[in-house]
Symmetry: C2
Subunit: 369 residues, 2 copies
Amino acid sequence: MDSGFELKKTDQRCHTARSGVLTTPHGQIETPVFMPVGTSASVKGVLPDRLDQIGAQIMLSNTFHLYLRPGHERIAGFGGLHDYMSWDKPILTDSGGFQVFSLSRMNKISDDGVEFQSPLDGSTHFFTPEKTADIQAALGSDIAMVFDECAPPQSDRPYIRESIDRTYEWAKRFHRYHSHRDQMVFGIVQGGVYPDLRKESAAQITSIPFDGYAVGGLSVGEPFEISMEVLAETTPELPEEKPRYLMGVGTPEMLFGGVERGIDMFDCVLPTRSARHATLYTGSGKLRLKAARHKDSKEPVEEVCDCYTCRHFSRGYLHHLYKRGELSALILGSIHNLRFLMRLMENIRESIAENRFTAFKEEFFSNYQ
Amino acid sequence: MDSGFELKKTDQRCHTARSGVLTTPHGQIETPVFMPVGTSASVKGVLPDRLDQIGAQIMLSNTFHLYLRPGHERIAGFGGLHDYMSWDKPILTDSGGFQVFSLSRMNKISDDGVEFQSPLDGSTHFFTPEKTADIQAALGSDIAMVFDECAPPQSDRPYIRESIDRTYEWAKRFHRYHSHRDQMVFGIVQGGVYPDLRKESAAQITSIPFDGYAVGGLSVGEPFEISMEVLAETTPELPEEKPRYLMGVGTPEMLFGGVERGIDMFDCVLPTRSARHATLYTGSGKLRLKAARHKDSKEPVEEVCDCYTCRHFSRGYLHHLYKRGELSALILGSIHNLRFLMRLMENIRESIAENRFTAFKEEFFSNYQ
């Protein structure tokens, strides 16, 4: 079973929406797919067996966090991330680029790499493309992401211009250096909200034969319409036969909008984070479980949902657990929110198979607020 | 299947250690049994399906907490506690006595009942035997506990004397008032650390034909040896053909010590609370998972344990999760600690069946520190 992507189907009415199968060293993934995030080698509150029941096909974990704690070499000593966290399905690791630029105090960006301070203890670290390739090889993820510069959303055009060139140089170095045979590598297109710079970055990055291509630095503060416009200008520049990954997004709007513009993969921390804040997803919008009106509700969160939470518990019970600060509320909420997105992606895949993606999207948003 | 207790076996060498079957409206329980505690209608971090996998036969829930939030009438509106929390095995509810005396500001104890203030909002409430019978009937537990006065451990003898008489009057009233046919009721023996008062209380309480008898107010601060001495003086006063429950204890020392003195049932919040504080149980003693020495340990918490945690994860991984404050650590730790006690009770039952309880106890403590 060689690693690679097979484009299976495009919707006959919405020609950009597509489905496929991504084959990785740890198994196959049906796309479009949503990837739950286990930042520190654990999806918060949802153990691997539950994640499997929920229908998760692949998990994302964060290179930046794992590098700092417990350390990639330590994880390698445990036989890699799969063994360490007891997850035998595919894993994608990001490159740490986004976190270096968003979570840590940066000391210096140079063409060589980035010097930054650990948000945990203030210690100084230096990331280069080669370094993050080594870290991800040690983690043993199925898919590694190249180290990119994720410029702040408020950056001016000259800065973005400079940064896509640096991202291109880093991508070339990453690709040249990467030698882990059992690991796929995806390049990342940057370019802020400038369609022409996105196109230029796409041309640069796709000139390198990566196993897939990601769109980074979108939906980082700009209006939804802008994200979608930029995305619509970017995906046509990516090769059809390779998987396309829109990084860090997971709202229904972004998932439908992404698939509509040819995206195959998504990830987001929001489903579990929202669940920890008592906000649960439903087909008619978000449900805030702490609201007093749920106290006596015998309804499940969603009648149509097949998750453990919806099959066994009422909104009234969840309201009680959330109000009491019970640990079980966080678990039950996380299970539901993840399953909600898994079901949504299953339905999206089915709609593409039946050439009714656009109709399904319209139907979905006619209920969703 | 009528509710009741069947004494199956006494150990032929340690004649006081015994095993039996307790039949309740929601099924049978093999004794001696340890009951996990779900204070607010949820065992913290361990969902019902997991609790079932762990081998829990019965869950304890707290009348005092449920009365305050979400309210027993609300729970009755959901069809009772079993439906509310989706647990179809037996449930025992305590009477609220212990919590009224330990968790709330008491305003007044009279022969009629106790006036207290809610620790949640300072509101004033009044518990009487009749009131807690009504609450527990509304909750629909399989086993209700009579409302007793749990005198503070530092009480002097004259006060304890007075309090056992009040407990007796309350027990008579509870028994007279209780009319919920599908609910068993257990009386509670008090008497502090005074063997003669314990005997007197036992004579009083056992004069009422309850379905079982509990020993309350032990192991509340006095030395272990004193608890055991008092217990040894008390259990012979309880009828052999009824189940005996030692309230609120769950350390291996207390479990072995209790079974050795004729106890059939135990409960304790410690296994899940300890797990939330990174302290896990093993046959050789407590393991503090945050200690740096576990960082690289590939060992499971316990080689012999069959729980989900021990089957899938290393001490090193758990160390990482605990250090990072990951929700999954609390879940994995709670699963293990509960399973540890379930296995311990399984082994105790087996040892009684094979007339080697004392040998098993000695073997256990030769490893345990």
